[in-house]
């Protein structure tokens, strides 16, 4: 009995001692509680944002060669213009999962371009790459795979580099280059401190040879914003809370309106200036297209240059720029690449020249436009294939 009493007394004194320790360090208790609350809070936020598909719009990661590229395997939800929710595949493509080796008897097409090809504004099954695969499978009578290599804000130079670093390993039968007349704006080195503008430049020497220049890329990743992006890459990839906080900071930052304005408005003031600019800077675009076509030919891949229609955000008037279109067609001819002018086709097809149904508010393609492109592309490709098979027949 006595021993039991002594034991109980000892236990009580231990408890008192512990309590005394805790009360001696109230800040420690507060700190522990705060950390536990922080942990639970973060888990709660991540769960809520996962369910709500919030904080998933950030889909670009730094890349020392290409400037930037999409995250692999990342779930992306885009709400700014239209709505799209996707899982990027293991190659960082806006595509379902695919194998590097081309399956037997499959016609494989690789499409290059910017956000207009990437098509985050409509469901994946409604974008023109998916629709083209379906249409062409029917027209050709064999399975067709259309690989979407479109990346938001990519320049022609980045498209070419992506072909070299990734796409050519897929052995496509056809490469399609989607070309908007806004391409000229991406030709020159851009010094804006934002990941979406970090682009390497392909200069051309006197012999028409391309020279890769990564000054913009290297400078960016040495600067504050570049370092921040590199250091926070894991958070940007996996944490929806982090991305939400980033969005909050962006929209609340003083002078955020100016930054947004710079990012969304065209650099070239009007159509006339654009025409002059295109005429001047074609000497940079022309060799990239020709080298791209040459390399495709060396890999036994056909190439198709596609002039896609373009409007400015909020306007529903087609950006004409005949000078650039003519130059594009001439380059395609010289490079022995196939050419299709969807802009002209749209002008012929749109009822009363009303282009509103074809574009979303921010100028990206709406579902009817994707349908229109897929239908015309499929028709064009099918007829080209049938013509070439007739020519090659004895």
């Amino acid at each position: 009995m006595k021993t039991e009493l002594a034991e109980t007394e000892k236990k009580l004194s231990d408890i008192e001692g512990n309590t005394a320790n805790v009360t001696a360090y109230p800040w420690l208790k507060a700190l522990v509680q705060m950390n536990i609350a922080l942990f639970i809070g973060l888990v709660f936020l991540e769960a809520v944002f996962y369910l709500a598909r919030v904080g998933e719009s950030d889909h670009l990661m730094p890349d020392q060669k290409l400037g930037f590229k999409p995250f692999a395997h990342k779930r992306i939800t885009q709400r700014n213009e239209g709505f799209g929710s996707f899982q990027f595949n293991s190659f960082g493509m806006q595509n379902d999962e695919i194998t590097l080796t081309k399956p037997i008897n499959v016609y494989r097409i690789a499409v290059f371009g910017d956000s207009y090809v990437e098509s985050l504004q409509v469901p994946r099954e409604s974008n023109y790459c998916s629709l083209l695969a379906k249409e062409l499978s029917r027209e050709l009578g064999k399975p067709t795979e259309v690989l979407n290599f479109g990346v938001s804000n990519y320049s022609l130079a980045q498209d070419y580099l992506r072909y070299q670093t990734l796409a050519k390993d897929f052995n496509p039968d056809l490469v399609i280059i989607a070309y908007r007349v806004g391409e000229t704006e991406k030709v020159l080195p851009d010094n804006r401190q934002s990941l979406a503008f970090v682009r390497p430049v392909l200069f051309v020497d006197q012999n028409g040879k391309l020279i890769y220049n990564n000054t913009v890329v290297a400078n960016f990743y040495k600067a504050k914003e570049g370092k921040r992006l590199l250091n926070t890459q894991i958070l940007r990839e996996y944490s929806r809370t982090w991305n939400t906080l980033g969005r909050m900071q962006q929209s609340w930052a003083v002078g955020s309106k100016d930054t947004e304005g710079k990012a969304s408005s065209p650099l070239i003031a009007d159509e006339k200036t654009r025409e002059k600019f295109a005429a001047c800077y074609w000497f940079m675009i022309d060799p990239i297209l020709k080298n791209f076509a040459k390399e495709c030919a060396a890999n036994h891949t056909a190439i198709l240059i596609m002039r896609t229609p373009m409007v400015h955000p909020g306007e529903y008037v087609l950006s004409r720029n005949e000078v650039e279109t003519d130059q594009l067609e001439a380059t395609a001819r010289e490079a022995k690449a196939d050419f299709i002018n969807l802009d002209r086709l749209l002008q012929l097809n749109a009822k009363n020249h009303d282009y509103r149904p074809y574009f979303l508010e921010g100028s990206h393609f709406s579902k009817p436009m994707h349908k229109f492109i897929a239908k015309n592309l499929a028709k064009h490709i099918a007829s080209t294939i049938s013509n070439s098979s007739q020519e090659s027949a004895p």
Binding site: M34, L38, A52, R53, L245
Partner: protein
């Protein structure tokens, strides 16, 4: 300055900290200054309008209380306030209605419509004018009835311009407000936390729920002619939730801000969608307005102490004017009339029950049963929902189109993209869990409080709620619906 803007989220903590740091004698001056700053940050020139109305009503109140010609001063005051409100709110509505009437009647009376038409005026409605004009009328009337006027001009000005209730109420009663100004405010951490919690709750309701529902409602009503049955119901129900979350969210933020400054503002909502009948709904929805309409319109008209037809007449007039108060548009008038007729029906039903004793016992039993309560709540909600259709529609025709669609069996896809695009389901689920489970049941609330007993942990919890609200909100600022009234 919007309650859901970054500016306000910076403004409020600065004001709260400075308010509690200042000696008590300077606090009223400080609040008055910040309230005018708050109001003038929208359009500085209208600060002068508010000041002019304040000065005039202050002196009118003093004159009424002096006793001589008090009735005349009251009439002048009421006419002056209503004239100001009418000019800013109803001038263009009157001109537009007149011009339309001239177009219809002109050929019949052989008068060219253009010769009797007036051009529309370029008038911008001052924010919150409907609310502070009603507060002034209440003040003058109560002083006339023998209430003690506010002697201190600063206190009177603060009553008129107090920023947490300045733009969209609640419509305060001066007796309650002034009492709070007369005693020195004592800082309370508990009150500060209670206020913060209300501000966060209001913010969540506004930005995470109401703002996510707004595009769905908008898509529905703008495509009224193409809406199918199911989507018409979705759009209407979405608006019922949107307007509740928008307005009660604003009120929560206003009341929370006031509590943080040591003031209590009247509550405006008490679970309105579980009202058992229409009179019950009006005791739960926009309480400060409905009680104002009762005290300063319905009762002066004769209220319920008169013959049955006159009483019904009073109800319809009160609700018609209540509808018109919301906006200078015929669809608001239809909404008001609809509620007026509904209230008349409820009163007639009650009167009938009292007369038929046998039937009364059976029906009372039914109403008291859980089935009866469910049926009553559902029918009341259905009635309110139909009313909301007219309230939200841009025109009466559009309202009728939506109603027609609600009773059709066609299908449509006007809302599919908006429903998919906005995370409203998650936001609503979170709110329901928060309100229904935690706040309605004492045991859950107690276990929540024991789980996070310390201030640092609570601060983290509040920050998480804030991030959650902002994260779930759509991009771009949406003003509160009641700002336009």
């Amino acid at each position: 300055m919007l309650f859901n803007s970054v500016t306000y989220l910076l403004f409020l903590p600065v004001v709260v900290i400075a308010f509690w740091l200042l000696p008590n004698r300077f606090r009223s001056f400080f609040l008055l200054g910040t309230s005018f700053f708050f109001y003038m940050s929208w359009l500085p020139v209208y600060g002068f309008l508010l000041a002019a109305l304040t000065v005039t009503n202050y002196f009118l109140g003093q004159s009424i209380s002096a006793g001589k010609h008090s009735g005349r001063y009251l009439a002048i005051g009421v006419i002056f306030n209503l004239a100001t409100l009418s000019y800013y709110k109803y001038a263009n509505f009157a001109i537009e209605s007149w011009n339309k009437a001239a177009q219809v009647l002109g050929p019949w009376l052989q008068i060219p419509a253009q010769s009797v038409s007036f051009p529309l005026q370029n008038i911008l409605l001052p924010l919150g004018i409907s609310f502070f004009v009603f507060e002034f009328i209440h003040y003058l009337t109560d002083v006339y009835k023998g209430g003690k006027p506010i002697a201190n001009f600063v206190n009177f000005s603060l009553f008129a311009s107090f920023f947490p209730s300045q733009i969209a109420g609640p419509i305060k009663r001066y007796q309650d407000f002034i009492k709070q100004l007369e005693y020195p405010h004592v800082f309370s951490a508990e009150a500060l936390e209670r206020g913060l919690r209300l501000v966060l709750q209001g913010l969540f309701k506004k930005v995470a729920i109401a703002d996510n529902l707004a595009p769905i409602v908008s898509a529905g009503f703008s495509n009224a002619s193409a809406l199918g049955g199911l989507e018409a119901w979705i759009a209407s129900c979405a608006f019922a939730i949107q307007i509740y979350c928008d307005f009660s969210g604003y009120t929560d933020m206003g009341r929370g801000s006031a509590i943080m400054l040591g003031f209590d503002l009247p509550d405006n909502f008490n679970w309105p969608y579980i009202a058992k009948n229409l009179p019950d709904f009006w005791k739960r929805w926009h309480i400060s307005l409905s009680s104002w309409l009762r005290d300063y319109l319905y009762i002066p008209l004769g209220g319920s102490k008169c013959s049955l037809p006159r009483r019904h007449n009073n109800l319809i007039i009160t609700m018609l004017l209540g509808g018109l108060w919301h906006g200078a548009s015929w669809h608001y008038v239809v909404w008001g009339a609809f509620h007026g007729v509904g209230l008349v029906f409820c009163h007639t039903y009650d009167a009938q029950l009292k007369r038929e004793a046998k039937l009364s016992i059976a029906l009372k039993k039914f109403h008291a049963s859980s089935l009866g309560v469910t049926v009553s709540v559902a029918l009341t909600f259905l009635f309110v929902l139909v009313g909301w259709v007219f309230f939200r529609a841009d025109t009466v025709t559009q309202g009728l189109q939506v109603l027609q669609a609600m009773y059709s069996f066609q299908s449509s896809t006007c809302l599919t993209e908006s429903i998919e695009k906005y995370p409203v389901v998650v936001a609503l689920a979170l709110y329901m869990i928060g309100r229904l489970l935690v706040d309605r049941f004492e045991s859950i609330r107690l276990s929540r409080d024991s789980l996070i007993p310390l201030a640092p942990a609570r601060i983290v919890a509040y920050i998480c709620v804030f991030i959650c609200a902002i994260g779930l909100s759509p991009t771009g600022k949406t003003p509160f619906i009641y700002f336009q009234f």
